[in-house]
């Protein structure tokens, strides 16, 4: 039973000054599911992601990934274990091309060390060619193939969001945390991204996403957790949660 929980938080707290952004939160993500996290502004959603992935230090409590404590590890170590996240503000390598952005995601899969890279050995060159092929496949799948040589900074907002997702997918995560992947983009793009999320789940990635627009999650998620004031307000299937009075109130009040 326990190993079904890919990720789990136990009594997690995060305090800024005297304010608790995360207030004794217990929640979990099951292996193979698509979990949605909703809540009004300031409810602690992104802070939660930041604490889970090590970008912020937890004030108290624990985060477990595959049963092991990852609380307060540095982000890159957490990434090494297969926990990858995207950022709310379309964080990309603006001065690199779309292709280079995706190729970067294969960092953990590169076997050659720094010295070899410095000397540009044949092994390195082979590896880079292989990575380019894999990256191109990801670009195909996400529809970015036409834009492969464009600088990431020049993409439109919607394509930038797609690119951040592509980077996340390319790193072959076990658990992928997406921060507002569907916000601010056209309905057709939403469909496309939702399709990618589903496809990722099919190939074995567990996904958890924060979304503002609750309606978009109805068909996408198996389960939804609602947060407010850093605490869990509701937890269940999309139908039940979105009709929960407390949840609705939190959105109006906030």
């Amino acid at each position: 039973m326990e190993t079904d929980r890919l990720l789990e938080t136990q009594g997690l707290f995060k305090l800024f000054g005297g304010v608790a952004a995360i207030d004794g939160l217990d929640f979990h993500i099951l292996r193979g599911e698509i979990l949605g996290i909703i809540g009004p502004n300031g409810s602690g959603k992104t802070t939660l992601f930041n604490v889970i992935t090590g970008f912020l230090k937890a004030s108290d409590g624990d985060v477990l990934f595959e049963g092991q404590r990852i609380t307060n590890l540095t982000p890159h170590r957490i990434a090494k274990r297969g926990l990858i996240r995207t950022f709310q503000l379309n964080l990309l390598f603006r001065s690199l091309s779309v292709l280079e952005n995706v190729r970067f995601a294969y960092h953990l899969q590169r076997r050659n060390g720094v010295i070899a890279a410095f000397m540009n050995t044949p092994s390195v060159r082979r590896e880079e060619r292989a990575i380019t092929k894999m990256a191109e496949q990801v670009l195909e799948a996400t529809g970015l193939a036409d834009r492969r040589d464009q600088l990431a900074g020049q993409l439109s907002y919607g394509w930038q969001k797609t690119l951040t997702l592509a980077i996340g997918l390319a790193s072959k995560p076990r658990l992928l945390l997406l921060d507002e992947p569907l916000t601010g983009i056209s309905p057709s793009r939403v469909e496309a991204i939702a399709g990618l999320v589903n496809a990722a789940r099919e190939s074995g990635t567990t996904i958890c996403l924060i979304e503002h627009n609750v309606g978009l999650l109805m068909n996408l998620c198996d389960r939804i957790v609602a947060l407010n004031f850093g605490q869990k307000m509701a937890d269940g299937n999309p139908q039940d949660v979105t009709q929960d009075k407390i949840v609705i109130e939190s959105y109006i009040g906030g």
């Binding site: 800024f16 970008f55 912020l56 230090k57």
Partner: protein, 308 residues
């Protein structure tokens, strides 16, 4: 340690504390509101000192680089002091408008520009005023006896001026609209601007006050210590150490830390001589490593740790 030596050192500690608090709170205010490190803070202080010297004008020998009309000004010291405070404050406000404001939110470009400005001002002063130190004739003459120890009155005035200005700053922050605006911008500039606070104006005000504080410190130092182009460096380093120890952006922290460093310097120099400085530097580094938010908590905001 004899009682009289102790008292002397204690009074020195008070004096240094006063100086450090004045410079550090000014720097802290700018840091808090503009979210930048005004590396040129020390240079403003130096300019203030030179300005007081020029306005008092009693000991200027002909220096070509200073215009004729300036050379003939001879103000009484208190007036020169006030003029310098306002003038340097205004200059600081100008610098903000012209140089810093366009880099709002970006620490590194501001820092580079500030560093460049410092060099220009400092070396410019060196080239203009020459290598010889200047002195401003003492206005407050005489000694005052405190519990049996003799202490120059003008050094006591440093303490008085420091207390007056710092209290003034605290009152201003607490009770005026401008103060409220500055506190708001320091805490959350987006929220503040949405509530109708004009960020450029608030930032300029903060720069004005911060630089004015530096000039006030300079003005009261000028008669006591020497004035020269590189005087700024020492005070700038101290100011940085104080705000690091006090917590970056925290005014009250700067006050406590300023007092701490002032007394440490005073007593340290009696016991350790020039090693005091090395100890202090190392202590500051240790604090940065282990308690980056400073020793005195109460941080208004903190752009310098990973946690926001």
């Amino acid at each position: 340690m004899t009682t009289s030596l102790f008292l002397q050192t204690f009074m020195n500690g008070l004096m240094l504390s006063g100086l450090y608090v004045m410079t550090a709170t000014g720097l802290s205010l700018v840091l808090g509101v503009l979210h930048i490190i005004n590396f040129a803070h020390g240079a403003f202080l130096m300019l203030g000192a030179y300005l007081v010297w020029m306005l008092v004008g009693k000991e200027i020998s002909s220096i070509e680089s200073i215009p004729e009309w300036l050379q003939h000004i001879e103000m009484p010291y208190p007036l020169a002091f006030l003029v310098a405070v306002v003038a340097i404050g205004a200059f600081g406000a100008l610098v903000n408008r012209v140089l810093y404001q366009r880099f709002w939110g970006k620490v590194l470009p501001c820092l580079i520009v500030a560093v460049g400005l410092t060099q220009v001002l400092q070396q410019g002063a060196f080239v203009t005023f020459g290598i010889h130190t200047k002195s401003v004739p003492s206005y407050f003459e005489g000694l005052i006896t405190v519990f049996g120890a003799r202490f120059p009155l003008e050094r006591l005035m440093i303490i008085v001026v420091a207390v007056v200005f710092t209290t003034g700053l605290l009152l201003l922050l607490r009770y005026t609209k401008a103060g409220l605006a500055m506190r708001a911008v320091a805490q959350d500039s987006d929220a503040a601007s949405v509530s109708g606070v004009s960020i450029p104006r608030t930032a300029t005000t903060a720069m004005f006050i911060g630089c004015a504080m530096a000039a006030a410190a300079a003005g009261i130092i000028a008669p006591v210590f020497t004035v020269h182009a590189y005087m700024a460096e020492g005070y700038l380093i101290k100011a940085f150490m104080v705000i690091i120890l006090g917590g970056m952006g925290s005014i009250t922290g700067a006050i406590w830390a300023g007092i701490l460093v002032g007394f440490f310097d005073a007593f340290g120099s009696v016991f350790f001589g020039y090693f005091t400085q090395i100890f202090l530097l190392i202590f500051v580094i240790v604090v940065i490593i282990f308690k980056p938010t400073g020793l005195f908590g109460g941080v208004v905001f903190d752009i310098f740790t990973r946690d926001e």
